[in-house]
Structures are given as C-alpha cells and as structure tokens.
Subunit: 305 residues, 2 copies
Amino acid sequence: MLVKDNLPSIQAFDLAVYLQERKALVDAALDRALPVSYPEKIYEAMRYSLLASGKRLRPIFCLASCELTGGTLEMAMPTACALEMIHTMSLIHDDLPAMDNDDFRRGKPTNHKVYGENIAILAGDGLMIYAFEYIARATEEVPADRVLAVITKIATASGAAGLVGGQVVDLEYEGKSDVPLSTLNYIHTHKTGALLESTVVSGAMLAGCPASDLERLSQYAKNIGLAFQIIDDILDITSTQEELGKTAGKDQQAQKVTFPSIWGIDESKNQAHSLVQEAKAQLEPFGERAIPLMAITDFITTRSN
Amino acid sequence: MLVKDNLPSIQAFDLAVYLQERKALVDAALDRALPVSYPEKIYEAMRYSLLASGKRLRPIFCLASCELTGGTLEMAMPTACALEMIHTMSLIHDDLPAMDNDDFRRGKPTNHKVYGENIAILAGDGLMIYAFEYIARATEEVPADRVLAVITKIATASGAAGLVGGQVVDLEYEGKSDVPLSTLNYIHTHKTGALLESTVVSGAMLAGCPASDLERLSQYAKNIGLAFQIIDDILDITSTQEELGKTAGKDQQAQKVTFPSIWGIDESKNQAHSLVQEAKAQLEPFGERAIPLMAITDFITTRSN
C-alpha cells in the first residue's frame, strides 16, 4: 500500500526521513512491478540491476513533482518506476565492453560481468520496453491522453533526441582533449539532463499541471540536471571507489574532458551552486508545497557520494 | 499523402500490385517518421537498418488488419511504422558479435559492421524507444485509451514476455542438439510469433474491433507466425545467400535445432501448409474484406526467399 499524500510544514519536514520513506516505497513498487517468470534468467538479470541499491532520485523527483502540482503518489508511481527502469537500462548498456567497459556499478559487478554480454544487452532492451508497457498498463486515475503525453515526453528524453543522442556525442569525443564547452553542455544536457528533466515534468503532467507551471518545473529540472552532472564529475575526482559504489577516477584515466577539467574543482562547485540557486527560485511560487523539492535540491549540492 | 481506403473485390484484387503499393506507402512513411538531425550519426545508423530493403510484411499486416475491421490506413500507419522499428531493432541487436555475430542482413553489411558495435547498440535502443514515442505522438483519429492498449500489447509482445524472452531461450539452447519440440515452439512463438501476432491484433485494436474478432485474428496470426518461421527454417537450408539477402545455412553451421531438423523438409512443408489452412479458416467470417489478408497468407506459403 502506498502512504497517503501528506504534505509537510516547514517545521515538521525531515528530509532524511522523507527520502528514506520514498526510497522504501519506490523499492517496494519496483519489486512488485517486475516479478520473475519464465525464462527466469532474463527477469533475474533485469532485476539484478533494477533492484541494486540506488538513491532512487529520479522516481522521487517524479513523485514529488506530482504531489507539488496537486496529484497523488498513486498517479505517479508507475511512471516513477518506469523512469528508474530507463535509467537502469542506460547504465547496463553504457557499461558494456563495446561502450564504457565498466566492471562495477552501484557497488556490484556490472550486469554483463554476471550474466554475460548477450543477456546484458537483452536485459537492457527488456527494461526499456517494459518501462513503456508499465506506464501504459499500470497508470490509474489519470486520463489516457495525459498518459500518452507522458510516454511521448519520456521517450523523447530517452531516445536519439535525448539520452541516446548524448551518449553518441560522448562516445564521439572520448579521449579527445579539445571538447568545446558547448559540446560538453550538449552531452550532459542530453545524456543526464533530459531524463532528469522528464522525471520532474512527467510527474506534473500526470497531475494535470498548467503549461506555465510545467515551464517553471522544466527550467528548475534543467538547472538541477546540470548541477547534478558537475557534482558527479567532481566526485569522480575526489571520491574513492568504496564511496562511489563504482570505479572511481575513470574520467581522468580516460582523459575525459569534464567540467572540473575545464573550470577546476572550486569554480565547478561555484557553478553548481549558482545553478541550484536559480533552480530554487523557480520553485518559490509554489510556496509550502515545494518544501520537499527545495530540500532535495539542497541535498544534491551537499552530497558526498 | 496516404491512398484512400479502397477495399478490393475478388475479381479485381491483384496481390502483387497491392503489396507493391503498401510497401511504397510504408517506405515513404518510415522515411518521413525518422528525419536526420544532430547527432547525425545515430539517425543515419537507425535509418540505415530501418530503410534497408524489406518486404514490410509486419506493417502491411497491421494496415490490412485495421482496414479489415473497419479502420483506415491513417489510423494504423504510425503503429505500422513502429512495428517495423521494433522488428529492425531486434535484428540489429540479434546480429551483434555478442549475440548471433552476423555480417549480412537484408543484403547489406549489418549495422555494427558499418557503424561499430557501440553505435549499433544505441541505434537499436533509439529505434525501440522511438517506436513507442511514435505510436503515442503520431497516432490520430483514435481514442487515447485504445492507443494505450496498443502500446501495452506491442510492448508485451516485444519484451521479456515476448521477443526478448524468445531470444533468451534461443541463446540458452544454442549449439544443443537435444532441444525439445515444446522449447522450439516456445522460442518461435515468442521470438517471431509474438510480434507478428501483435501486428495483426494492434491494427484491429486501433479500429475498435470487438473482443471476439480480436481473438479470431490473434489465432490467425499465431498460426501464420509459426508457419512463417517453419518456412524461414526451410529457406535457410534450401536458399543461397543472394536469394536470402543474409548469410545462408547459418542454422546448420551452428548445429541449430530447427523444425526441418526434427521433421525433415517435406513434413515441415506439410505442417506449414496445415497451419496456413487453419489460419485462413479464421478469416472466413470476415467475408470479402478479408481478401487481402487471405492473399497475403497464400503468398507467405509460396515465397521462395
């Protein structure tokens, strides 16, 4: 059962408890969304990566945005789960030997290390397909035309015009030291930013949010997405493998151009901070309903792993 | 522009002209559906395989089924295109070195041979995601709840419960000579049959076809799907690479268990013939409207490549 929509007051709000509760709800919903059946191996491979420990920030953004704009957790939960499936799929395929060739992810061996390359490719495919099936089939109490608009939004953010396009340009510039800032921006606004933006916007779309507020939330999420990536780049340099739960220092080893490699670490932190301040300004008109998203936003700029 | 819905009489019907016209409509619609934009490489890779010469039988089934049940070509065209995108995606990923490691497909070098393994993986991902986006975004004159039901139907047929599941079991039994007939049936009803069934059923769903007729069409398509696979297995043995447009004799080289390897070629032909007769019996209640599907059905059992 989902907990009842229960918006907090400033005094009562405890982010750690909120994130813990939401993560538990999402983990349980993901577990229910994808039961094992024949052929077991593919479901196990899909579940191995999907249910691996993660902060579930994308689903939490989607749920928070739906509540912020007057919707319920129930309306957004299938879409929230689908967003985590798509994110997981992109990680599985990104880690493949033909791509980034990564051995560790979320503190565990990568999917192809456990199940083999062929099953890992198919597990990614299966998760991607199931994401759209699950939104279409499991979303309740939302008019069908809104659900179609959400599918369009999320697919655009995930495909060649979004995440996949970002990965292509990222691969193209791999190992090159002369990546222009505009290209680096393109890579991140597409590879990471587009899906994150769609988490926030899709939650509000499900709630029937008017276009002007959708635009505010889109701007909020774009800023957060870029800040999130800058901080990720910083952490790749400053963290250990144990802290990150994935191979640390990969970017430097691969001589990858990152925001810190252009700006240095301190200026990168400043840039991330400015983006976050501008993002929060977009939330102000929503008043007390925005408390959870405000707090999550602060959390992102101070996380250490 | 699409041609006007114009159902043929028995006397006037010319299958060759019909297939040529429909293929031309589908080819033009696919070309329009996926224009090139930045980053060009991924769109070119997606279009390379999507627009490669093909009979377009899956889209044609979808269009024919929609017309059979009272719908229009316009209602079904986005879904018809999406089905070809999903089919193409499954071929691109199936041909990868980690999977079947095939060098030729549809008479041309496979996607990874031209664009590299990493881009081929992403081109498949991009096509799969775009398929669902395109159904959701481009379908017109169909109520939104029907479109959602079609997305659910096609995703189920494509994912771990369908095509992807069939590929997993196929990989599991690769090189084994003791594949039970029930497993061989599972592989083909899922790897090939499920998507084909969804082409016929989705076309009728878009037209608002009642459940009893959907069940008839589903049964028709399941029989055709299995017949199609048996004939494919036969052709792999009896055709040359030039005729097939892909590497011939792969199954025998890989010591793959196929219907002809269990039944022999003559009995396989008999089985395919029986399946087709049973399929056609399902179409009889539709009367003259079923003429195109009847003719396509005959065509399938007599094709030589």
